[in-house]
């Protein structure tokens, strides 16, 4: 500000004093707040840079916070996934033991253990992190997987896995246990094996082969498919065999091989060559019927259960469940579309078709978005719960016909399911994705730590003060101010007035 002269004394002196005082005040403020200026104006030409730096620092802070949240969730997901892997290992080894060692008692033991494992799995898939369900894709506010009890036993009017498997078994086995096949003798010396209807159920005739002399084998042809074996011209020889191959409901194949023998009564899978071809045909028919029945109660039952649970676990919010059109089920020829009102839909989470990892993303860098979402109905996870549930659903007791064989058929299919087919996503793939996400987040965090240090230093250079420098300036200024004040006071005292008498 400008100062009017007082008594003709120098205005410059007064102006300088005022300026020095103002400078001293500013330096004092600087040293006490550590800030070069309390407005943007005082920061100098680098004020624009300081604003940018501060916005970058704030962004880094928020990226780190996001990364932290994502890391917590990924850790818990990894824990759940590794528990699931343990369940898989335990189930497989239990099945192996049951199949090869224990007999029927072991078979039923495995079912009970599977029941407990299913409880554990449904609990793991309903893991929450801070109130957020992490295996439901975008649906994070409700549990994605139904409870084990609902899955197996249903819920009121909604059918569970047990009911679905039982309905399918009836449809696949038919009322006579022959797997929806009609084995007839159109003539005394021919055997006709036909599927009873065009339907997806029961045995499907794949092929037939024989080296029986004098036998003419045709088929399978027609719709519904049928084949026939004509022994009309003569008896086969002992040791020759007839093999019929069937396709199972779950896509596997199995076969029945009947060998001609001269023994009477014949052994398992043998038929006695009779005197006449018609006798042989009758024996063949009996042996075939019994072999098919045995196959039905073992391989077909297992395959039916596997296919039923496949259809049950296919269902989600976008795919309605597939049920058998009936009752009656043992003559059913088609499936119908169920709904959530009549069937328990095991997966109630987000069922979109976009990539599952992108259902939960964390922006940890301006251009790096890490995906760590998981849906419980991804192939790797679904396979585990599906196969364990199927194991828990089939009960084999000492009264089950061919119980041990059934158990072996079931266990081999389920083990294949738990191992995963080549080209399909496995549990380990999901775990790997999670680990990759975690690595990206950690790398970003490390970059940020370094960036933070550099940016903070730069910002301090622009906005901060060097305490030592400011302290020295204050000291120098103080000295100058004191000297100026001294001289000014001396000057003001000197006046001729004092000397004029």
């Amino acid at each position: 500000m400008t100062v009017a002269s007082i008594n003709g004394r120098s205005t410059q002196m007064l102006q300088s004093l005022v300026n020095l005082r103002a400078q001293l005040d500013d330096l004092t403020r600087q040293i006490s707040t550590g800030q070069k200026s309390d407005t943007y104006a005082g920061l100098g030409v680098q004020r624009g840079v300081s604003i940018t730096l501060r916005s970058q620092l704030s962004a880094i802070e928020s990226y780190d916070a996001t990364g932290q949240t994502a890391s917590t969730r990924i850790n818990l997901a990894q824990t759940a996934l590794s528990s699931m892997a343990k369940v898989v290992t335990n189930t497989k080894s239990a099945m192996f033991q049951a199949t090869n060692v224990a007999g029927v008692g072991g078979a039923s033991q495995v079912q009970t253990t599977a029941r407990y494992s299913l409880d554990e799995l449904s609990g793991l898939l309903n893991t929450q992190v801070g109130g957020r369900y992490i295996f439901g894709g975008k649906q994070t506010d409700s549990p994605p997987v139904e409870s084990a009890d609902h899955i197996l036993n249903g819920d009121g009017s909604r059918a569970g896995l047990l009911q679905v498997i039982s309905e399918r078994r009836q449809a696949d086995l038919g009322s006579d246990g022959l797997g929806r096949l009609d084995i007839t003798n159109p003539t005394l010396s021919s055997v006709n094996v036909a599927e009873d209807a065009v339907s997806p159920f029961g045995f499907k005739l794949a092929s037939v082969s024989s080296n029986l002399t004098n036998a003419v084998v045709n088929g399978p042809t027609g719709s519904p498919a049928a084949l026939d074996v004509n022994l009309g011209s003569g008896n086969p020889n002992a040791g020759e065999s007839l093999t019929v191959r069937f396709t199972m409901p779950d896509g596997t194949t199995s076969s029945v091989t009947l060998t001609a023998t001269t023994d009477d009564p014949p052994g398992a899978n043998q038929f006695t060559i009779g005197t006449l071809p018609s006798d042989t045909t009758a024996n063949l028919t009996t042996a075939l019927t019994s072999a098919v029945q045995t196959l039905g109660s073992t391989a077909l039952t297992a395959a039916s259960a596997v296919q039923a649970s496949n259809e049950f676990f296919d269902a989600d919010a976008n795919h309605p469940p597939v049920r058998i059109d009936g009752p009656p089920f043992d003559t059913a020829t088609a499936t119908r579309t169920g709904s959530s009102a009549d069937t328990v839909i095991w997966y109630t989470g987000d069922a979109g078709s976009d990539p599952a990892r992108q259902t939960a993303t964390a922006l940890v860098d301006p251009s790096l978005s890490v995906g760590y979402g998981v849906r419980a109905n991804e192939q790797g996870l679904r396979a585990v719960i599906q196969n364990v549930a199927t194991l828990a659903a089939i009960s084999i007791t000492s009264t089950t016909p061919n119980g041990v064989d059934l158990s072996q058929e079931l266990n081999s299919r389920l083990t294949t399911g738990l191992n995963g087919r080549p080209g399909e996503q496995k549990l380990a793939d999901v775990t790997t994705d999670m680990a990759t996400a975690q690595i990206s987040i950690d790398a970003a965090k490390n970059r940020h730590t370094q960036q933070n240090t550099t940016l903070q230093e730069f910002l301090t250079q622009i906005e901060g003060v060097n305490d030592t420098e400011v302290g020295a300036q204050i000291l120098a200024l103080q000295t100058r101010l004191q000297a100026s004040m001294q001289v000014t006071s001396m000057m003001y005292q000197m006046s001729l007035v004092n000397y004029v008498r």
């Binding site: 500000m1 400008t2 100062v3 009017a4 002269s5 007082i6 008594n7 003709g8 120098s10 205005t11 410059q12 102006q15 800030q35 200026s37 309390d38 407005t39 943007y40 104006a41 005082g42 920061l43 100098g44 030409v45 004020r47 624009g48 300081s50 604003i51 940018t52 501060r54 916005s55 704030s58 962004a59 802070e61 928020s62 990226y63 916070a65 996001t66 949240t69 994502a70 801070g130 109130g131 957020r132 439901g136 894709g137 975008k138 649906q139 994070t140 506010d141 987000d350 259902t359 939960a360 993303t361 964390a362 922006l363 301006p366 979402g373 906005e463 006046s495 001729l496 007035v497 004029v500």
Partner: protein
């Protein structure tokens, strides 16, 4: 020479010494009076009674360097201009906040975007949703309070002008009065000198308020002009008038048109009755008055425009959707169909086409207006400098709309029609190939939260939607920063931040991701008139870059104003020093004069007593 002559001379000397002493004592008494010019006597030797030589104080000299005085007056205006400006700017800086503090504008903005980041990583977390809403409200309230502070500074400038005008009128009256008094006095004696001192101090006061030019006439008259040549004071004083506005807001700005003007204007009524508007003629360019005018009409308005631009772009970035038309053909003509329902006032239909001859790309923007008084719109209504803007009045219903669109397109060779409902079809001229249409887009503002897209009306203009409407009074963007608020339905239900349609999953981060990206990395086009970017080359960049430019520009302006003030102060002080060297009273010098006078008086008295002695001797004879 005779004794009597000696006596007469010494008596004259005594008288002169006495009057000089009176001057010295006057100087000493007024040593501290501001504006007092040191006076010295002008003594001349006189012839008395033919041969005697006497002495007489003929006039009082004011020790004044007129050249320095003139310079001083000029720098005084400049210094006052710079001081007022620096004061306003330092006050303006305080509203942007201390760098790094939690109330700084950029910190509040960064907090808001960080809260959106947090929401994107946990969309289902209701505390993250509430966090976003509360940070957004802080930002809106910050903009509101900054606006009210800027406008209160404009109001202070208005009051300052009113005050300054009163002071100026007072000074001019006094100058005229003194002129009249001095014209009656013909000699320069001490009373005249005192009047001259007074007049000089009034002129100095006037020079603080505006830049003036002082022309001296004869008989101690002066005429004061402004630097642009308008006469302020002569024998009579003109009168300055200022019609101060009661309330000052972002919408009240100065305009040459009295109907549109919302703040006061400066008028000069001269003695013969003619009036001139001083702001329109830019007659005052320095001093306090010019400084107040600069702040009120330019600098603070620019600061307000910057904040308005920020608010407007923030609101529209989050709420505006651009949709493209679908290509159609009709015989040889090809073009686009687009649905024009759901446009709010200020929303646009943009047609990009090129003419077949030169292939220069052209843009025609049709903007919806709801107030027919706003038409015709100028091309500045949109930020794009290269488009032609035509306003379409929707207030009379959709049937008139299509007619107006057809009229707007008539000179371009394109044809518009309304095939059904609210679909607009624009076709080129087909075989003639004079015009080719590149694309047709509409920009619409979302009006409800769960509208199926990520866009949402996050911020509102008070209680209504912000859509950039233009009406007869002005544009919706003016003063927006003072009215911007978070949508009340969002405050009531923060889950609308995630649920962009019914049935959206709770963990779906589509909308939060969109909001975050729009506010941090998406490039927006900013309106001109903010000092950042020009009408011909508007600024395009991210919101953060624009904010940085705003704060940076204001800081720079404040810094420049402070530097200017410092520079002016130095110049003023050194001139003042030079002036004081000649004109102010130096006690030591007066004391020395006093001694001299004392001796002179004693010497004259001695001469008188010696003459008396000689006469006595003569008498004794």
């Amino acid at each position: 020479m005779s004794l009597s002559q000696a006596l007469i001379s010494s008596i004259a000397g005594l008288n002169t010494t006495q009057s000089n002493l009176a001057l010295v004592s006057a100087n000493v008494a007024n040593a501290g009076t501001p504006g007092y010019i040191r006076k010295t006597p002008n003594q001349i030797a006189t012839a008395a009674n033919g041969t005697a030589v006497g002495v007489r104080t003929v006039s009082v000299q004011r020790e004044l360097d007129t050249y320095v005085q003139k310079q001083l007056r000029v720098e005084n205006s400049g210094a006052n201009y710079a001081t007022i400006r620096a004061q306003f700017y330092s006050q303006l800086q305080s509203i942007y906040g201390t760098p790094g503090s939690s109330t700084a504008l950029d910190t509040v903005y960064n907090d808001f975007t960080s809260s959106l980041q947090t929401l994107a990583s946990s969309p289902d977390d209701s505390s993250a949703q509430a966090g976003v809403v509360s940070k957004a409200r802080l930002l809106a309230e910050q903009l509101n309070s900054m606006t009210s502070q800027i406008q209160s500074m404009r109001s202070a400038a208005e009051l300052g002008l009113s005050d300054a005008v009163n002071q100026a009128n007072d000074a001019m009256q006094h100058i005229a009065a003194i002129n009249a008094q001095l014209s009656g006095l013909s000699t320069t004696d001490s009373s005249a000198a005192l009047l001259l001192d007074q007049r000089d101090s009034y002129i100095d006061k006037l020079s603080q308020l505006m830049d003036i030019n002082v022309v001296s006439g004869d008989r101690n008259q002066v005429t004061v002009f402004t630097n642009s040549g308008v006469q302020l004071v002569g024998r009579t004083a003109s009168e300055l008038g200022f019609d101060a506005a009661g309330t000052v807001s972002a919408n009240t700005v100065w305009s040459a048109d009295p109907d549109k003007r919302g703040v006061g204007t400066l008028t000069l009524t001269s003695a013969n009755g003619s009036t001139v508007d001083l702001i329109q003629t830019n007659a005052i360019r320095s001093g306090k008055i010019a400084s107040y005018l600069q702040m009120r009409d330019h600098d603070l308005v620019q600061a307000q425009n910057q904040l308005d631009g920020l608010a407007a772009v923030m609101a529209s970035a989050l709420s505006n959707t651009t949709a493209s038309g679908t290509a159609v053909t009709s015989g040889p003509q090809s073009g686009f169909d687009i649905d024009i329902s759901g446009l709010s006032a200020g929303n646009t239909i943009t047609i990009n086409y090129s003419d077949g001859l030169t292939n220069t790309p052209r843009t025609l923007t049709l903007m919806r207006v709801d107030d027919p008084k706003a038409l015709p719109l100028s091309n500045d209504a949109t930020a794009n400098p290269n488009d032609k803007v035509v306003g379409i009045d929707f207030s009379s219903g959709m049937t008139t709309v299509f007619g107006q669109i057809a009229a707007a397109l008539s000179s371009t060779g394109m044809v518009s029609s309304n095939p059904s409902g609210s679909t607009l079809r624009i076709l080129d001229d087909g075989a003639g190939n004079i015009v080719n249409i590149s694309n047709v887009t509409t920009t619409k503002t979302a009006t409800s939260m769960a509208n199926g897209t990520s866009q949402m009306p996050f911020f509102t203009d008070g209680t209504s939607i912000y859509s950039g409407a233009v009406d007869g009074v002005g544009s919706q963007i003016t003063g927006l920063a003072g009215r911007i608020a978070v949508n009340v339905s969002l405050i009531a239900d923060p889950s609308a931040l995630v649920k962009y349609a019914s049935g959206v999953a709770s963990g779906d981060s589509t909308r939060p991701d969109f909001l975050y990206k729009q506010l941090t990395s998406a490039t927006q086009l900013f309106p001109p008139g903010t000092g950042i970017g020009t009408s011909g080359a508007p600024f395009s960049g991210t919101m953060s870059t624009y904010l940085r430019q705003v704060i940076s520009l204001q800081g720079q302006n404040a810094d420049a104003a402070a530097s200017l003030k410092q520079g002016q102060d130095v110049v003023l002080n050194s001139l003042q020093q030079r002036f004081d060297d000649a004109a102010s009273v130096n006690i030591d010098q007066e004391m020395a004069n006093l001694l001299t006078l004392q001796n002179a008086y004693a010497a004259n008295a001695r001469v008188m007593s010696v003459v008396k002695d000689m006469l006595d001797l003569l008498m004794k004879l």
